[in-house]
Structure formats: structure tokens, C-alpha cells
Amino acid sequence: MEHFLEQVLNGLQLGLMYALIALGYTMVYGVVQLINFAHGDVFMVGAFLGYFGFAVWGLPLPVAILTAMVACALLGVIIERVAYRPLRYAPKIAALISAIGVSLFLEYFSSLKFVFGPNYRVVPRPFPEVHWNIAGLSVSNIQVIVFVVVLFMLILLQILIYRTKTGMAMRTVAVDHNAARLMGVNVDTTISITFAIGSAFAALGGVLYAIAYPQIHPFMGIMPGLKAFTAAVLGGIGIIPGAVLGALIMGQVETLTSAYISSQMRDAIAFAILILVLLFRPTGLLGRTETEKV
Amino acid sequence: MPVLEISNLAKTFGGLKAVNNFSLSLDEGEIVGLIGPNGAGKTTVFNLITGLYKPTAGTIHFCEEDITGLPPFKISQRGIARTFQNIRLFKGNTVLDNVRAVFHPRIKYNFFDALLRTPRYNAEEAKVTREALELLEALNLAHRANEKAANLAYGDQRRLEIARALATHPKLLLLDEPAAGMNPAEVKRMVELVRYIKERFKLTILLIEHQMGMVMNLCERLVVMDFGQIIATGTPLEIRNNPVVLEAYLGKGATVA
């Protein structure tokens, strides 16, 4: 039993990691309806910048994180300007292709020698890791931090989207740019803000990820990005709490499969469950099952 | 023999009874108008008849056959066609292909004929194309056959939707506000058009329309809905003077062309 609880805790940590990335992913999707495949790579850039910040330039951790967040916010805004905005009124798939291009660009460009280089870097712990023993379970300070950050991001996003004017603007932009304009919404600015926030969150996620799994390299964003996106879909893409729910489920499924069924089959089973869930809830767990009004 | 027989139809969305206890019978060759305030449930009735929504209660018979709960495409193949309140064409396809596509269930060549281009394929394709063009001709769209549907003017799109519906060889045609957004002169032409196709294709027609000019001119019988229920039926003259309808729908100064 204790063993099982420990596995659940493992799953929780993994799920929270996915949630960290999935939140930003799903927010951007909610506003621009674009699978921003570059999100995972912005996450990577964030991890690198954070690493340089506290491990190479010797900045205090909060400053390093903030720097990474600001830089990635800027990066996100630039990506949107350059690669997505020209395609805003093109078919959706065009922007998706552009996103794949941007993703590849960030990966390959980052692995050039004079950028981050192709090496796998070991990330030193910026603070000592502490383990607490709670009811026979070992909980680390990193796990607690990640938990708090996810919670913080979740609440912040919910407030932002449902309680602020900017959030309302985002929700109208999500539906119809021209109608939003006619309300006085500056669509360009709103989308820029969306990307800035999404990318800043990606950076925050990246740094925490690099602290929890202390190794970074230019292609590190692909898999977590994909898994996080899958989690967002599982929860109902575009829906903020859905991202967290989906991520937590993914984390549990993967961990429990590894632990009790077969580590080889882990991804297969995780995705099989995803497909099954979608068959019963075609728009994800929290997604509105909308009968299109004809 | 009634073409369409609806009894005690109901549909609820969450707590909302969009259609409730709705019964209607259409005889062959009739044009019946379905009118009522916005949100009365008229379009929902169409969606129920065509199978897009599954009814909460009630049955729908078409030519004696129970079609309640059949999937839309099967209902269409039985002989019910419709147009949409918000135009739904195959926008990126050509005008001609919009029409030809719906010949599909009646095409007489099989998959392998298609892959191998057998004489049967050629003959049948030629026939379908000819028939489609005839239909477009009838609706005065033939000259735009190779235009993308999205590029058509609004009125042309409305007519293309009708052409496409006719291409399914329906016995019963459901028209959902075909004259919406048209000026009185255009409405008049639409009235002519509906008369013409009714005669030529031997149709029974159920028509939703808010333009009284159209409804009163065309229909032999009107059914008025409000809050999902029928509140009145009768000839245009009767309806025009029905106080309940005046109150709920037509308004005091009902202008009727």
C-alpha cells in the first residue's frame, strides 16, 4: 500500500511537470486555436537561460528565473510576429506548419556551437534538495515548489481569463477578430500578450524542469511538449483546469503503467487511454461537448 | 396519404423545451408555412426531421415509414432535403461539384468502375454532369458552374443551396428562411422560384420564413409556433386575423405585401 502511494506520488510529480508546460500551451491554444509546436522549444530556451542565469552567470535563482521568463516572453512575442501573424487569416493548418518550422529552427539553431551548443549539460542544484518524510513517503522540496507553482499558475490564469478585461478580450479574440475589433479590442496586442504570458510560463516551467531533472539539451523540449499537449487535449484543449487535470491523469497513467504493467508499454498504454477517453468524450474531459447549432 | 406525419415531437436542451408536443401532417403537393417568433423552435423542428437532432420524444413518419432516429444521410436518401438558415455550402468546391456531390447515393457505378474508368463510369459521370447542369440551368446558375461556391453572391448562394437540395431528388423540401436578407423585389423573385420548382419537381414544401410577403403569397396553410408549441394553424387569412398570432408574432401594424 505504501508502495502504491509512493508510486502515486511519483505520478503526481510527473503530472505536475506536464501541467507546468500544458498550462501555457492550452492558454495559447484557447486564444489563437493554434497547436503551437514551438511551445516545447520555448520551454527549452527557458531552461537554458535559467541555467545560464544561476549556474554560469551566478545570478540569484529568482533573478535568473525572471530573466528567463522575460526573455522568453519576448521570444514568444517575436515568434508570433514573425511566423504566425502573417498567417493569421490563412487556413489554420498554415500556422501549424509554420509552428513546426519554428520548432525545428529553435532546436537546430540552439544546437549550433555559438548558441547553446549540442551538448547535454548537467544542471547543478541551485539550492540543496531536502527530503521530508511524511507518513512513510518521501517528499522533496522541489516537488513542493513545483506543486505550488502549478497551483499559482492555474489560479493566475483563471483570474486573468475570467476576471480581467484582458481576459475577456482574449476570449473574444478567440472567437472572432473582427467582432473583437468592433468592441475596441486591440487584437494584435491581445495576441501578443497571450504569447508573452504563455512563453513566460513555458520558461518558468523550463527552469523548474531543469532543476527537477537536472539535464538540458536543445532537443529536450520535444517530448515534454508533446506529452503536455496531449495532456491538454485529454483535459479539453483550451480549457485551463483541463490542462492540469489531463496532466495529472497522464502522470498517473504513465507511472502506474511503468510500475505495475510494463515499462516498455508505458507510452502505448498512455496513448491508448487517451484515445479511449476521446472516444467517450470527443472534446476531452472538461471540453464542452457541443452539438453544433445548425 | 400524408407525406410527413409528425406526432408529439419534443426536444429539450438542458432545461429548455425547444420543441414540445409538436404534431404536424403534410399532404403531398402542399406548401405549408412554419412561422413563429425567434427562438420558437422552427429550425429545431427541421433539425429533428432531418435527423441532425435526436428527438426527446415523439415520432416522425415519412411516407408511412418511421424515420425517427435515423441518421441524416439515410433520411436524405428516403427523400427529404433541406436548406439551412445559415447557408452551408461546400464552399471551396465548384458550383457544379456542390450539386454533383449529392448525386452520390444514386450513382450507378461502383468503386472499381471509378478506379478503372470503365465505360459505365464514363456514361454515368456524363449523365450526372448533364443532370446537374440542367438543375443549375433551372436555377439560373449554369453560367457559374465552375466558380467556387464561396465566390458566389449571397442570392446565388441561396439558390445554389436549393439546387443542391433538389439534386437529392426529394419528395419533401424543407426551406429555412430562403428569403432572409433579401429586399422586397428579391423576395418576390424567390416566391416565383419556389412556385416553379414545386411544380417542376413535384414537391411537398415546408417553409420557414419571417418575410410575410413570401409566406402569405406561397402557402396554403400556416402553422404558427411559439415556445416550442403550435399556437395556431390555418389559412393565411385566418392567421393574419388571429389575435394570438398578432400578439406573439405579427405585431399590430403587420405590413403584408
Binding site: F105, A272 | G92
Partner: protein
């Protein structure tokens, strides 16, 4: 069955191209390297046409195409390796089996998941691709010949340009015939408006599944040819990132255009190799960067793709040409 005029010209063009390639081979202008690249391009053409049917023409977003490519490759490769003896008959039989297996799997998975819409369908197919990859990595536990994660070598290398070219020609012709038939029109109407298609009497589930099965079978066929042209099959060669390659070929070519798919597939394969040559040894690590930039720039320059909805005249049936101008449009931007 009489040969229609444009089919005749299609074959005439094909013969001309074939003769050209032969002449270049003979004169040594076409080195075995470029020959191999050309063969690869044709293989990708076949696979991409499959996705073109699924996504370009029927509007079903699939991110799992490479899985079916892999299924075909492994099936055909293993069959021919075990039972074949370099015999042509076996080559074709194994190809057909590979395509059939890919198609059958597509049928089984397509029936349930094609109910999903757009991005949800995309992620479900992507997930299926990952499941298939795990299957490939563990396939040796059922059939040792598959090699599992260590890959499978020893497939007979009997595919060569002549055969691949003829197969490609046939596939293009069949896909054309499919698209310009009532089945193709059923597919494009589903792409444009599924609800309207349904209400107008088209069994949407059936044609979505049909398009998916056909498209995946083509991917399987392409995979089978790959297995007979490239000596080593490995699960990594068929993972989800490869599905993106097919997707971007189809989109950059222009949705709803076979011509676009064919041209872009060839262009894409050559681009990667030409970049190698152009960049030389000293700038080789810029290859990925430049490739990514080309991708972004080309989609921004032509968001609707190269040929969106347009076809080369050669591919249009005669009886439609009389109605049309120079180019025939049968499809939209399909967003």
C-alpha cells in the same frame, strides 16, 4: 475501355520522363546517389498522396501517417525476407500485403476515431502512431524476424527505379480516378461541411473511413517499396516526427491538389539532399536551421500551398475540361 485523351498524354509524358531518366543514367549524369534520391522521392510521393486523400481531400487531420508507412514497410519487408527469394512475384505480393495490412489496421482504428474532429483527431492519430512504434520496438517478441528495437535487416533489395516509377504512375492514376469520381466528390464535400454532406445523403462515416483506409494503404505501399530499396528497417524511421514530414508536404503542396502533393514531395526530398551539397562540409550543421527557415518562409509566402485546389491539366478527366478554363478547381483551401 478506351484510353481518354489526357490519359494518353499522361502516359506520353511519363514515357518521356522515363526516357529522360534512362538517358541521364546512361550518360552518367544521373549518379546512383541522385538516382537513389529520385527513388526516395517517388516513394514519398506515393505515401504523401495517401495523406493527401485523407487530409487534403477529405479533411481528416492525421498526424500518424508514418506509422502506416512503417506497418507497410515491416510487413512487406518481413514477408519477402522470410518467404521470398528475390522473385518479382513475391515482391509484388509482399507490397500488396503490406498495403493491405496498413489498410486493415487503418480500418480498425479509423472506425472508432474518425468521429473525432480536427485537432482531437490529430492528437489521437499521433498517439496511435506512438502505439505502433512501441509495437514495432517489441514486435520481435511475437515474430523474431521483425528485430524489434534493434531493427530489421536483410530485406531483399529488389526495388529499383523502373519498378518504382511504374508503381508511382499507377498510383497517381488510381488516385486521380478516385478523386474525380463520385467517391472523391463525397470526400471533398465532407471536408467542406460534414453536416451539410450528411444531410444531403452522404454517409460521412463511411467515406471518412474509406479515405483513411485508402490513404493509409498507400502509405503502406510506399513503406513496402522503401523496405525493398533501403536495406534496414528501424522503428525510429517511422516515428511521429516523420508523420510531420508527410503533413508538411501535403500542406505546402496545397490542400486538395494531387499535383501539389507530387511536386512538393519530390521537391522536399531533393531540398534536403541539395542543401547537403550546397552547404558543403563546413556549414553542414546549418542544414537543419536553413531547412526550418525555408519551411517557415514558404508557408508564409504561400499559405494556401503551391497548388491549392488546382490540378495540372493532365490530371483532369476530359469531360470536365470542356467546362473549364486552363486550370480546373475542384477544391478549396480546406481550413
Amino acid at each position: 475501355m478506351k484510353l481518354s485523351r489526357n490519359t494518353f498524354f499522361y502516359f506520353a509524358g511519363a514515357v518521356f520522363f522515363f526516357a529522360l531518366v534512362k538517358a541521364m543514367q546512361f550518360s552518367g549524369m544521373l549518379t546512383p546517389y541522385w538516382q537513389l534520391v529520385l527513388d526516395q522521392a517517388l516513394i514519398i510521393v506515393i505515401g504523401a498522396l495517401g495523406l493527401s486523400i485523407i487530409y487534403g481531400f477529405t479533411g481528416q487531420f492525421s498526424l500518424g501517417h508514418a506509422a502506416f508507412y512503417g506497418l507497410g514497410a515491416y510487413t512487406a519487408g518481413a514477408l519477402d525476407k522470410v518467404y521470398g527469394n528475390g522473385n518479382m512475384l513475391f515482391f509484388f505480393l509482399s507490397l500488396l500485403t503490406g498495403a493491405a495490412v496498413a489498410g486493415l489496421v487503418a480500418l480498425l482504428i479509423g472506425l472508432p476515431i474518425l468521429r473525432l474532429r480536427s485537432d482531437y483527431l490529430g492528437i489521437a492519430t499521433l498517439g496511435f502512431g506512438i502505439i505502433v512504434r512501441v509495437g514495432m520496438e517489441n514486435g520481435n517478441k511475437l515474430f523474431p524476424v521483425l528485430g524489434g528495437a534493434t531493427g530489421m535487416s536483410g530485406t531483399p533489395q529488389v526495388a529499383h527505379f523502373d519498378l518504382i516509377f511504374i508503381l508511382t504512375l499507377i498510383v497517381i492514376l488510381l488516385v486521380r480516378n478516385f478523386i474525380f469520381s463520385t467517391y472523391g466528390r463525397a470526400c471533398t464535400s465532407i471536408r467542406e461541411d460534414e453536416i451539410a454532406a450528411d444531410v444531403m445523403g452522404i454517409d460521412t462515416t463511411r467515406y471518412k473511413v474509406m479515405a483513411f483506409v485508402l490513404g493509409c494503404a498507400l502509405a503502406g505501399l510506399a513503406g513496402g517499396i522503401y523496405a525493398h530499396r533501403y536495406p534496414f528497417l528501424h522503428p525510429a524511421s517511422f516515428d511521429f516526427l516523420k508523420s510531420f514530414d508527410f503533413l508538411l508536404i501535403v500542406v505546402l503542396g496545397g490542400l486538395g491538389s494531387m499535383t501539389g502533393t507530387i511536386v512538393t514531395a519530390v521537391g522536399w526530398v531533393f531540398l534536403l539532399e541539395v542543401l547537403r551539397v550546397v552547404l558543403g562540409q563546413n556549414f553542414i550543421d546549418w542544414r537543419g536551421v536553413i531547412y526550418a527557415l525555408i519551411l517557415v518562409v514558404s508557408i508564409i509566402v504561400r499559405p494556401q500551398g503551391l497548388f491549392s485546389g488546382k490540378e495540372l491539366r493532365l490530371l483532369i478527366p476530359d469531360h470536365l475540361k470542356m467546362l473549364t478554363g486552363k486550370e480546373h478547381t475542384h477544391a478549396g483551401s480546406g481550413n
